[in-house]
Each structure stands twice: as C-alpha cells, then as structure tokens.
Assembly symmetry: none
Homo-oligomer: 129 residues x 4
DNA sequence: GTGGTCTAGACCACG
DNA sequence: GTGGTCTAGACCACC
C-alpha cells in the first residue's frame, strides 16, 4: 500500500505524505475513500503511530484529508477528480531539475542521461545499465 | 565555484561534498589541484568556516582529498583521471530513479516526462512548461 | 564509563572513538546495546555535546554504530561478537611497536623493558619503578 | 640519520626532538658533536627548513643543544655521558603505559601482550604474529 | 598562511 | 526525549 524506506534520509512522515499526494493526484485514491487507521498502518509499516498521525494531520491541514469523529479519515471531497495533467507534470519538475543539475555537473551527455531515464521509466528499479 | 542553497533541507556541508565529488568525477578538478582555503571559501559562501572544514574533513576520510600540514588541501592522487563514463552515469541513477518513481506514481505519460527532462537538461532551471 | 584526558594532545573525540572501538572488540559492549545519549555523556564528561556527537557520527560512518531516528544510538549489528583474539592482539601492535622503537633508541636492555611492561600490565598507572 | 614519518599525526619537529633526545640519552650522540645544518637536514628529509629550525631551537632552550655563531650547532657540554639507566627506563614509561592501557581495554591476556612486545623488541617492525 | 579542536548556545527535525 | 546543523568566536599546532 505504501513503500516506506526507513533508512532513507527523507523523513518517514514525508515519504507518506508525498506518496499519498501523488496517488490522489493520479486518481488512484478518490474522494471519500477511507484511509487505513493510524494504528493499522503503523503496525503494517512497523513505524511509530505518531509518525503516521503526523502525516495524516499535515495532510488534513492541507485540505487533502478529512477527519470525521469516530470514523476513519477519508480523502477530502473536492479531490474527486485527479489533478490536471499539467499540474501533475509540474510536480515532477523538482526531482527532474535536480537530476538534470547532477547530470550537468557530471558532464554526462544529454543522450545518455535521457536513455537512462527512459529505461528507468520502463523498468522500476532493477534495470542494469 | 560552488553553488550553495542555504534554504535547502540538504545540509550545506553535504551539498559541498556532493558537488566536489561530481566535479572530480567529471574531471573539472584534477589530482593535486589545491582547494580554496577553509577561510576563503567560508567568506565567499557566507558560511561558517567550520561548515567548510567539516565537508573537507569528511572527503579526506573518503580518500578524495589529501591534507598536507600547513598547506591547502588538494585533490588526492589516485583521482588523477575523471571517472569512467559508465561510473558517472551510474552515479546519476539514484536521482533519476527517484524521478521515475514519482512519474509512475503520478501516472505521467512517458513521453511527457522525457520531454520535460530534456528541456531541463538544456535550460538549467528557468524553462517554463 | 569512559576515561577522558582533557589535557592530552589527543583530541577528546578521538579518545572516545578509540576506547569505544576497543571495548566493542573486547566484547564489553555488544551489538544492539544503547549508547549513552549525546547530552548525558557530555554532561558526565563535562564536555561540549558536539564533541560527543562528532565521535558518534564518525563511528557511525565506520559502521560501528547505528543511528535510529529519534532513539539513542546503538552498537551496530554485525558487531555481535567480540573480535577474534588475533585481531585484538594485532590492534595492540602499533602502540607496542612504538614503545619497542623507543626502547631500542634508548638502548634499554630487553629484560628491563619487558619487566617494566609487565609491571604496567598489572598496576594500571601508579607503579613506581 | 633520522627517521621521519610525514604522514604520522605526530608533528615532524617533535619526532626530530624525541629521536635526538633519546640518542643523546643512549650515548649515540655525544657532547660537542656537530649536528647537520638546518638546510642540509631539511633537504635530506624533504621537510621545510623552519621545521628543523624549530626542533633545534626548542632543544637549545632545553639545554640539550648549543648554538655557536656562524658554526654548526653541537650537543651541549654537560651531556657528555649518556643518561643513567633508570632515567632512560623512566622515559620509556609513557609509551609502555599507553600500550598497557590499550591491552587492558582490549582484554588481551598478559602473556600474549608480553610475547608480542618481546618479539617487537627483537625484530624492528616486520615480525608477523 | 594552513587546518583542527573545542565551547557556548541557538534552532531544527524526528519519533 | 533523540541526534543534526549551524554560527560566533577562541585557541592551538604546524609550516
């Protein structure tokens, strides 16, 4: 359901938030859909419940989630439809800009960088060079 | 000489280390070349000298830099030649893998993602969509 | 818990690292065991917290310690058992080689040097000649 | 004539001073004997002349050396005879005390430590375990 | 001139 | 509570 990397430098709650945001934008999660409870998700990911709670609360502040007393949280109404294609593309920009900056510093030919990216878009992670 | 982003979540000393590593790999800095002194670089980047010193020391531990008592640090011998093209490309992989994962979660068409990356490779940062 | 000599030429953080390394090798500290917190140890040794932190961080880089976000650091797994006897003896060699070199330069008879060493092995520090 | 290890943590001028002191104590260098000039020794050891000069000056302050205008420095009179055996042994103590402390922290059996020391006293450096 | 170490103390991020 | 980062500034050692 969620892919958490405990060893990463990126904080866990942020990994959660980012994934949830992107999946809502992509329409994988739709308005009204119930989220797993804090405790369940904490157990499943082997993470402290407070960490889950922090992610949920921040997303509630953002308006992406809605809290209903005594009931599981849900994706907020108003997020019924996935984000427009150009907004989604825009939210991909920072990661790509960073990769581009690294490629430039490494003096990697444009064609090579593009080819590697294309391969990674096809094959999730394992693709050898 | 170095591009530091004070506001970034990535610590300054780490930004320095990454840039230096990449530029040595690209052959922009060659073995035996003297680095700017801790104090000079600190002044230039408007950063505390200890921050620079930390980056230098860690790179020395890694074997990328060499300390010579009383003299400026230098790029270590054994890093005379830039890294092989495939090693450089390999070190670009993590950043691209991350972008690819995000693109997949956002359900962005491959062609769009590739086009954006291509544009960012050409135009450092500003290119509008 | 740790013996720090503030007056020594050897930096405090390095004294800490050396002691911890040796005690893990000797099996006095075992894998998974929690280290005293940076702040506690700093108070106890009357030293600045950053000094402790530096020692801990470098040992983490070495792989001897493991960081767990929000929790005290622990001896890394993979250091469950104390080092083999011959490795421990090997790590004693530099100090003894140095002493031997000095003895030779001082033209001290072998028997005398050995007797002094034996006495120091028994009586930690105070034994008069 | 002198063994200098540029890579060591111990400063060069101190390595020089220690060696000279020990050799005078052992009677290898006797009162009135001329020392190599600062420049010659600097060339020979590939070291900055100021480093040699610093060692000589400090030893002059100690009274071990004597400066004579326009002439090479010499071992001071009053150091005609080597130091008494017990003084020489005493000056070996710090190095041995340190080794003993390490042996204790490493939990190395006394007999093993002694055997290693004995071997190192015989075979300068190379002796395998 | 060079880098190294340490302190005092602030602020942040994570759990 | 945990550790991490940074600043301001002192002092040292080496060359």
């Amino acid at each position: 359901m969620f892919q958490i990397n405990t060893g990463s430098a990126e904080p866990i709650y942020r990994q959660l938030m980012d994934q949830l945001r992107r999946r809502v934008a992509a329409g994988q999660w739709v308005a009204g859909q119930e989220l797993p409870s804090v405790r369940d998700l904490a157990l499943q990911l082997a993470v402290h419940p407070m960490t889950i709670s922090k992610a949920y609360s921040l997303l509630e502040l953002e308006g992406l989630l809605e809290r209903r007393r005594g009931l599981p949280m849900v994706i907020a109404a108003g997020h019924a439809r996935p984000a427009a294609a150009r907004d989604r593309l825009e939210s991909l920009r920072p990661a790509l800009a960073r990769a581009a900056a690294e490629a430039r510093e490494l003096d990697i030919p444009k064609a090579q960088a593009l080819r590697l990216f294309e391969r990674l878009l096809d094959a999730p992670d394992t693709g050898a060079l």
